[in-house]
Symmetry: C2
Subunit: 218 residues, 2 copies
């Protein structure tokens, strides 16, 4: 049984890799910058997309693919901001994959910036390239200040690491500096942003980074 399992896994990752490359080619051809946003449920992924939509100038056409095991709540939140959006329900799967994205991206050939909000957890999304240009991981201080060191892989592969809800750090006795130094130790090249989305702390820094990667179109 173990042998069959391993073969299936290899096939799965090979197929994912091939489809991710096709997604990347499609996005590049259409001038779309794609960002895979990962983080636990409640870390602030959807709010980050909503606030970004309200902040970017009309000159930037934005889209969002929202992954959840069930439901369309995140999709409805984002669509309310005038963003072209699509919900993907993964059922029992704890991550998006390149195959799911493959079917969804066709309608996003006319956007400049496409967010792919992954399913809420810090483990499963790691191994599945979606064809994105950048990976963003967002964690909240309420997840505990050991959350970064407990999930090294996802932070190692991130381009941007956001430590969110820093205004609540005292209330939950979380050491934000420890979280930042854990992030830097795991990944020296990532941009690390201290954020509190509810009161806009660090949000400008995020928008500046976005402006850079989509070529100053904001």
């Amino acid at each position: 049984m173990h042998r069959i399992e391993v073969d299936a896994e290899i096939d799965l990752f090979e197929v994912n890799k091939r489809l991710a490359a096709e997604n990347r080619e499609f996005l590049k051809k259409n001038g779309v910058t794609a960002i895979n946003i990962m983080g636990a449920t409640g870390s602030g992924k959807t709010l980050l997309i909503e606030k970004t939509a309200d902040t970017l100038s009309d000159g930037v056409r934005m889209g969002a693919i929202l992954g959840d095991v069930v439901g369309k709540a995140d999709y409805e939140r984002v669509a309310r901001h005038g963003v072209k959006a699509e919900a993907i329900n993964t059922g029992k799967e704890c991550h998006l994959d390149a195959h799911l994205i493959h079917h969804a991206i066709e309608k996003f050939d006319d956007v400049d910036l496409l967010f792919m909000e992954n399913v809420g957890n810090l483990i499963c999304p790691v191994d599945f390239d979606l064809g994105e240009d950048y990976r963003v991981v967002i964690v909240s201080v309420t997840e505990g200040d050991d959350v970064v060191e407990k999930h090294p892989e996802i932070f190692r592969l991130a381009d941007v690491i956001i430590i969110n809800k820093v205004a609540l750090a005292d209330a939950v006795e979380a050491d934000v500096d420890k979280m930042i130094s854990d992030a830097r130790r795991l990944n020296a090249r990532a941009k690390v942003i201290k954020m509190d989305l509810k009161n806009n702390t660090g949000f400008d820094e995020w928008i500046e980074w976005l402006q850079e990667v989509i070529g100053g179109m904001c």
Copy 2:
């Protein structure tokens, strides 16, 4: 490829089922009450075990198996309270399974109460029976008040549902009543406890439930 994948999954679940039955038999034979604790990283799983260890009388011999993708931080926290403990690192896997537990339980033949702290997320642990007697799901209001409705399966199968960190509900604008009614709608037979572990809200109710299930040994 899809066919092979499905076959492997069936094998995996069949094997898990068989090993879970063996675990259950071993635990029953030795008079061990086993509780599978599930919840996201930072929801309060480890603190619940720590505080329970400090509260139960010396007459209750307690053990804990702590699952994490990497590291021994939770194991160290629990062991400090004089609890017989064992860490399981799952690597890339996002859940404990009956096979991992099978190897770990041998040393727990002399305890009355055994906690199995699952890997931190609300998706993957659902399908893997460990051989436990009861399932407890703990969520924090900081995960957002839509966290229950977003993960119906794990709440449907729970015996106890704990809504933790209720003292922070206003700070994170979470509607605790909505979370409780979502939990009750999904699972009418589960015990739902409103809790704030840091200030002991709801903790007595938890200990009372524990006393019942381990036969008033506390």
